[in-house]
Amino acid sequence: MSVEKTYAEINAKIKSGKAVVVTAEELIALVEEKGLSKAAQEVDVVTTGTFAPMCSSGAFLSLGHTTPRMKMQKVWLNGVSAYTGIAAVDAYIGATEMHEDDPLNSHYPGEFRYGGGHVIQDLVARKPVKLKALGYGTDCYPRRNLETTITLDEINEAILFNPRNCYQNYNCAVNLTDRTIYTYMGMIKPHLGNANFSTSGQLSPLLKDPHFNTIGVGTKIFLGGGIGYVAWNGTQHFPSMMNVEGKGQRSSAGGTLALTGDLKQMSPRWLVGTSYLGYGATLSVGIGIPIPILNEEIARYAALKDEELYAPIVDYGEAYPSFTPGNLGYVSYAELKSGKIKVNGKEVLTAPLSSMPRAREIASTLKGWIQKGDFQLTEPVKTLPSPTDGFIAHSIKEA
């Protein structure tokens, strides 16, 4: 008999400390040992994890009023500009904004040592951050200049709001050209010198719920070391299933999540300022999402293994920058994690951008929270567009 559970039943078990919680990797082992039906009956919650650079990240900061009052028209935090086209003392610090004096790529490849992601990590590490603001002066907000230091605890609100995180799947990047390239997928050597990939494969949240059966608006998650929520689908949310040519399989393409949470309860271990040589600065974000095992189908997806999850191989030397469609084939996460893949008949060394040990630590931390009864699951208040909704990407049309 197939199993059916409700969120309420699972939460009651969590509350009484009786819920069976396993990480996605532990579920795989359990399914291999006992079979899918038995595993689905036994397990209540599966935890996932990912820790990787996620550029569409940032924080809304409400800095507090000055005496006299000021409408901050320009704001810099440790020399990094924050967006102020909102209310008087509110600003949004974006992860990829660079320090005002950064040489960028004028000395190619640039180092991009300090950007918005680093400001966020410094704030959450409780370091003092220099605040500089300019105003144009109004009758209600006369002040025009401010230079001071702030700390995370002194400002009114700090809300992490990441418009696009937690990519479901991502390209494996290679370089077919004859020069080294510096990309958001790292440094890639010429003539298929190396291959970089992201996502944590069988631990990755959205690869384990490919049809968005349980992850939706309002889902409570591990975010940056604290509690966060799914706010909406992410930007560029294209959750189709791609045909893995030559392998007779289908694999998730590119769903994304918009995530939010109170920055003040997060940790610098899980929000890390990151610099990509020749590309830019960003923020590495730790995310863990619990998947309630409501039925066997959800368990089957949550138990997908690295051998069954595929990434497309894409040339970042020519095809990607020129927006040429197509790829160089597909490769499984098991192959990617083995350290070597074959591309165009050549053996190529692989390396991840996404930390597997950290992803594992997140999944097991979240498991601990749920086992202790501290963390209840939330039923989505709205489901997210799934592969059957037919979202397609638009590109900019020029006259």
Binding site: F51, M187, N196, V272, T274, G339, T350, L353, R358
Partner: protein, 133 residues
């Protein structure tokens, strides 16, 4: 006897001197040049593996003529607090000094294999690979 792995740095005055020849001829050392960047009118660096009973004397000769001599594994260090074990460095490290343990995918650094190319220092997204002077 296991070889000593050393990094030599020297000014333009030394670049024209046959220092490796002296190590072999005067101190009877077996010298393996792992890496060398020596050009006239430029500061030079060299990474050597040196084996022999008189290796200390040979290195003292180098120091006496003004060569900076440092043990190789003291040169590049990993800042464990900053490293998140993403593993990106393992794809570009030319000698496999930075490698991943499987299946844990934990990143390990074997200083003995490092040839001080400093590629990891430039590429590490967390700036966790540091040159220790």
């Amino acid at each position: 006897m296991s070889p000593k792995r050393i990094v030599l740095r020297f000014g333009t005055d030394i670049s024209v001197k046959p220092i490796v020849y002296r190590l072999v001829k005067d101190y009877d050392l077996v010298v393996n040049i792992v890496k060398a960047d020596v050009n006239p009118q430029k500061e030079g660096t060299m990474i050597l593996e040196v084996t022999g009973d008189q290796s200390e004397e040979g290195l003292n000769y180098l120091r006496d003529i003004g060569v900076s001599v440092q043990a190789l594994n003291q040169e590049i260090v990993r800042n464990e607090d900053k490293c998140v074990m993403c593993g990106m460095c393992t794809g570009i490290c030319p000698t496999g000094a930075l490698y991943m343990e499987r299946p844990s995918m934990e990143v390990r650094f074997d200083g003995d294999q490092c040839v001080f190319c400093q590629l990891c220092v430039k590429v590490c997204p967390m700036k966790a690979m540091e040159v220790c002077l």
